[in-house]
């Protein structure tokens, strides 16, 4: 058993390897960690590299893959790449869920019957409240897309990212996601993390290394401690959670990660529910 597989089996290291597919996005949410926007520098990691990482991650003993951005589905080749990656390990892809027009939905055909789940952001049960931070029409597009994705046989999770939410509002949100076909176990609520654009808007919780999950995250800029690591502020990628610039072979970063997890005291990642 490899050192990574052993650490994952013992619960010392989360099994998921994340990759940032890109950094640009059709939205510009006020709490975005990466200052993503339509004109943000794209920093696309590339299809071949994503497949390579998937293969290396499987060989090293990781158990899952995560893909985030930016908005990954701006990359038209993504569905086929995700399908291919899922032959190695199960994939979770984060998306804002606003790009799934009829044509785009048809392009998701390669994902049907694959071990690929989509995590879609939906923060509030009311359009105006939801769209205040995420942009106009966001709510409508998500509510339209989710049942269609579910109908296609694609597993959908809903992620709610908020400063705080009243119980009654959360109840209405949960009723909504159930109605859209997403069960309670596939709904997560998490805080805004005070990095990226959230810093400028004075939003979210301050999270240090010990407060975020130690999930190896690969971007065009290097390997990071967590998907909350390669954030962008004032156009500059943060380096405080950078592990190594070397990502090929992935074992260089994975071994450094293992070393760092061995030195880590207990943190607040569970208490803050940053997942």
């Amino acid at each position: 058993m490899s050192a990574v597989a052993e650490a994952v089996a013992e619960g010392k290291l989360p099994g998921r390897v994340w990759m940032y597919a890109d950094y640009h996005c059709n939205l510009a949410c006020t709490y975005c960690l990466t200052e993503s926007a339509p004109k943000a520098p794209r920093r696309v990691i590339g299809r071949e590299r994503m497949l390579e990482i998937a293969g290396e991650a499987a060989e090293l003993g990781f158990t899952d893959l995560g893909v985030t951005g930016g908005e990954p589905f701006l990359l038209r080749w993504l569905p086929e790449a995700l399908a291919e990656m899922s032959e190695r390990l199960p994939v979770l892809v984060l998306t804002n869920g606003t790009l799934f027009t009829r044509r785009r939905l048809a392009e998701l055909a390669p994902l049907v019957q694959r071990d690929v789940a989509m995590q879609i952001s939906l923060d509030r049960p009311d359009p105006d409240d939801n769209d205040e931070m995420r942009g106009p029409e966001n709510f409508r597009k998500v509510v339209d897309a989710v049942p269609k994705l579910v109908d296609k046989g694609i597993k959908v999770r809903i992620a709610t990212t908020v400063e705080s939410i009243e119980d009654a509002e959360l109840d209405r949100l949960c009723a909504l996601h159930r109605e859209l076909g997403v069960p309670d176990e596939d709904h997560i609520v998490r805080p805004i993390v005070r990095r990226g654009r959230a810093l400028d808007h004075d939003l979210g919780v301050v999270a240090h290394q010990v407060d975020v999950p130690a999930e190896l995250t690969v971007t065009v800029d290097g390997a990071f401690w967590s998907p909350f690591g390669p954030t962008v502020h004032d156009g500059v990628v943060d380096t405080d959670l950078l592990i190594t610039r070397t990502t090929r072979p992935l074992s260089t970063a994975a071994n450094a990660m293992l070393r760092l997890t061995g030195e880590l005291p207990e943190g607040d990642d569970v208490a803050l529910n940053i997942r």
Binding site: D238, T239, D240, L242, I243, T244, T252, A256, L260
Partner: protein, 184 residues
């Protein structure tokens, strides 16, 4: 102003954090921190090569200041001028190492003169060191010392090119010290 972003403690990558534990680590660490895996490998090597060892502090500073002057690295010359004074070198010796005075008039010890002649050839020349210079060194220095001194020259040249290439800034403290010593 350096040509790359020098990472402060707040932006120090995880593997680089130990190097910031005692405060500002200086621009060499702050630049190498951009590539943490390189930093954590390079710094122990550099510290071993240039730090306390079987070669005396004075002899190491002779090599470092002379090499830096030959390579015209203003950052390393300034920084190690201050260190050389701390190691007990005189103002005249430092000026000679920096190429501002004649080496033969500042240094009398044949051992040191042999070393400086060899440093000049190794750091400033191309190809092999002339036989007379090489033999002069070996007449005064043991094999293990020659090996270590060679590594000191090499490590210094690495830093010379790093500091020059990235235009690393000399610290205000060093600037003040050199001004006070009349060695700016």
């Amino acid at each position: 102003m350096a040509t790359v972003r020098l990472l402060d403690a707040e932006q120090a990558p995880l593997l680089a954090r130990p190097f910031y534990a005692k405060g500002d680590p200086g621009p060499i660490v702050a630049s190498l921190a951009q590539v943490p895996e390189l930093l954590e490998t390079a710094m122990p090597f550099i510290s071993t090569a240039l730090g306390p060892s079987a070669i005396s502090w004075r002899d190491k500073e002779l090599v470092i200041v002379r090499t830096s002057a030959v390579l015209e690295c203003s950052y390393c010359v300034a920084t190690h001028t201050a260190v050389a004074l701390d190691a007990g070198l005189s103002h005249q010796e430092v000026r000679a190492l920096r190429g501002e005075e004649d080496i033969a008039s500042a240094f009398r010890d044949p051992r040191e003169l042999a070393l400086l002649a060899w440093v000049g050839e190794l750091a400033g020349g191309r190809g092999s060191v002339p036989a007379a210079v090489r033999d002069g060194l070996h007449a005064h220095w043991e094999d293990h010392e020659v090996v270590e001194l060679t590594v000191v020259v090499g490590a210094t040249m690495l830093l010379n090119r790093l500091a020059t290439g990235l235009e690393l800034p000399v610290s205000a403290g060093t600037e003040r010290r050199l001004a006070a010593e009349g060695l700016r």
